[in-house]
């Protein structure tokens, strides 16, 4: 230890003058959680977040998803769960701030409403993605148009009515 102590007098120090010299995080670092453009506003990340840092709120005709970096524990569960890579953990780690607003990351999505009861179905983007993923699976084509913009409970009522009519016709 003695020799090393003496020799390190003439060596460059190991420490980095961090705020003045950059010290970037490596690739793959789990830093600031941010929504990407592919986010469709389905809210899966909010359901799975261990720290309940992601909140989903429907205001009027828009749905607001908000990540609170004060609560977020940067575990990456949301990133793994999101089917459309709508949320990701960037490599930014300098999140100290005095302004409370910068602690959040928000994204807004336009909602679509059910013709039957006027309730919220989901966001428009989400509906497009669903249509896209089930277009080759396909419902019975003739019914597609009628129930396309009904919310789940109205769909149930619609099918129930259809079946009861079919049974009453049958008997």
């Amino acid at each position: 230890m003695e020799i090393e102590a003496f020799l390190s007098l003439f060596k460059k120090p190991f420490t980095v003058k961090y705020p003045f010299e950059p010290s970037p995080a490596p690739e793959g670092f789990r830093g600031r959680t941010e929504f990407t453009d592919d986010c469709v506003g389905c809210g899966a990340c909010a359901a799975v977040c261990p720290a309940e840092a992601i909140t989903v709120r429907d205001e009027g005709d828009t749905r607001v998803l908000k990540v609170d970096h004060g609560l977020c524990i940067f575990c990456g569960t949301c990133q793994d769960t999101c089917p459309w890579e709508g949320i990701e953990l960037t490599e930014k780690f300098e999140m100290a701030t005095l302004d409370k607003e910068t602690v959040y990351d928000e994204v807004e999505h336009e909602l679509i409403f059910c013709e039957g009861c006027g309730g919220v179905i989901t966001t428009r983007k989400h509906m497009e993605k669903i249509q896209e993923s089930i277009k080759d699976v396909g419902l019975i084509d003739k019914d597609r148009a009628t129930i396309e913009n009904l919310c789940t409970s109205c769909k149930r009522r619609h099918f129930a009515k259809e079946i009861s009519e079919a049974m009453s016709l049958g008997s």
């Binding site: 230890m1 090393e4 789990r30 261990p50 575990c75």
Partner: protein, 361 residues
């Protein structure tokens, strides 16, 4: 002059709040009263409110420097209940990160021990070399601590081909430096004067108080979960279980430093083994957890981490019981301190590598 010196909740030698009332006659320690509970956050109650998947991340944050031990113990207990065998590669992946954490945790302890007995330089050098391991952990898992590496049924990320070469070079540096530190600890006369013969824990007391980990192994009581109850892939790699007999502070230091060399050997064998296994096959989907109960045990850097998990068929655990190694080691502290002088109290306290946030949960 009979005095009560309080190594109080806030003390320089203790990194975390814990109170030791030391009754001394002059400078000789006569009796020690231990008070725990300053770090109690009710994690076991909180664990019952979250799903199994979320609990892994909660349990990982019980402690900052053993954030691989609790998740591994917890996931193994849940996997036992679900009757799931995780893929071979996942076992190796978990073991590599576990051993990397053992290295950086032991290096952390060695630095703090050197700083407590007064050599700041050794503290700076050891923590400099610890950075190599932490950088590798950051590159592989995405964070220096809190690796979010486990899920029920396997791992969440993989160690790909490009991670291994830098990992092996970092290990070379760590191995060379650890041998240098072992020599520094043993040869430096002032360190020997402080560590040899102080804080002696006889083998009989170590066994009677059921101490665990390096604290027990330094007193000759051979308990090592990696050998007794082989989990992960410890039965497929060969490594030596280091058991010494003196039971003083120097023995505990030697055990930890030698264990770093063993961990380096384990990681080398593990990285060779995962080359042969198919990349990407790292997790098995687990649909639901039947009602049942099981025990997850894991050899953390400080000793045996013990998780008892009871499930009731829903996705929320019925009961999660966590017991950290320091919980049993701390009960051996009074017998260790008896008869030493006041100057030896901080180093003897630190010699069990206490992690009070684990103890209090």
């Amino acid at each position: 002059m009979d005095m009560v010196v309080q190594f109080g909740p806030q003390h320089l030698a203790l990194a975390e709040p814990e109170r030791f009332k030391v009754h001394t006659e002059g400078e000789k320690v006569v009796d020690v009263e231990v008070a725990v509970g300053y770090n109690h956050r009710g994690i076991e109650k909180l664990a019952e409110r979250k799903t199994f998947e979320q609990d892994i991340l909660l349990v990982e944050r019980i402690c900052g420097i053993c954030s691989m031990s609790h998740p591994v113990a917890f996931t193994q207990a849940v996997e036992d209940i679900a009757g799931v065998d995780i893929p071979e590669r996942a076992n190796y992946l978990r073991m590599i990160i576990a051993e990397l954490e053992r290295i950086h945790s032991h290096l952390l302890w060695a630095g703090i021990a050197a700083e407590i007995i007064g050599i700041e330089t050794l503290f700076m050098y050891i923590w400099k070399d610890r950075e190599y391991v932490l950088d590798q952990l950051e590159i592989i898992t995405g964070n220096r601590n809190h690796y979010a590496w486990n899920t029920i049924g396997g791992c969440r990320k993989d160690i790909t081909e490009k991670h291994i070469p830098p990992l092996l070079t970092a290990l070379e540096v760590v191995e060379r430096r650890t041998e240098y530190y072992i020599d520094a600890f043993l040869r430096n006369r002032t360190i020997r004067a402080r560590l040899v013969g102080t804080g002696i824990l006889p083998r009989e007391d170590a066994r009677k108080l059921c101490t665990v980990g390096p604290t027990a192994r330094a007193s000759g009581y051979a308990v090592d979960v990696r050998k007794d109850d082989p989990h992960l892939a410890y039965d497929k790699v060969d490594f030596a279980e280091i058991v010494l007999g003196e039971g003083d502070n120097m023995a505990r230091a030697k055990v930890r430093l030698l264990e770093i060399l063993e961990s380096v050997k384990i990681i080398r064998q593990a990285t060779k083994a995962i080359k042969g296994l198919p990349e990407g096959d790292i997790a098995v989907p687990v649909a639901e957890i039947p009602p049942g109960e099981s025990v997850g045990r894991y050899e953390a850097p400080r000793g045996e981490v013990f998780h008892y998990v009871k499930s009731n068929g829903t996705f929320y655990p019925e009961r999660v019981k966590v017991r950290a190694p320091t919980y049993s080691n701390i009960q051996a502290v009074p017998t260790m301190l008896m008869g030493d002088t006041l100057a030896d109290v901080p180093i003897s306290l630190a010699s069990i590598d206490p992690c009070f946030c684990c103890t209090d949960r």
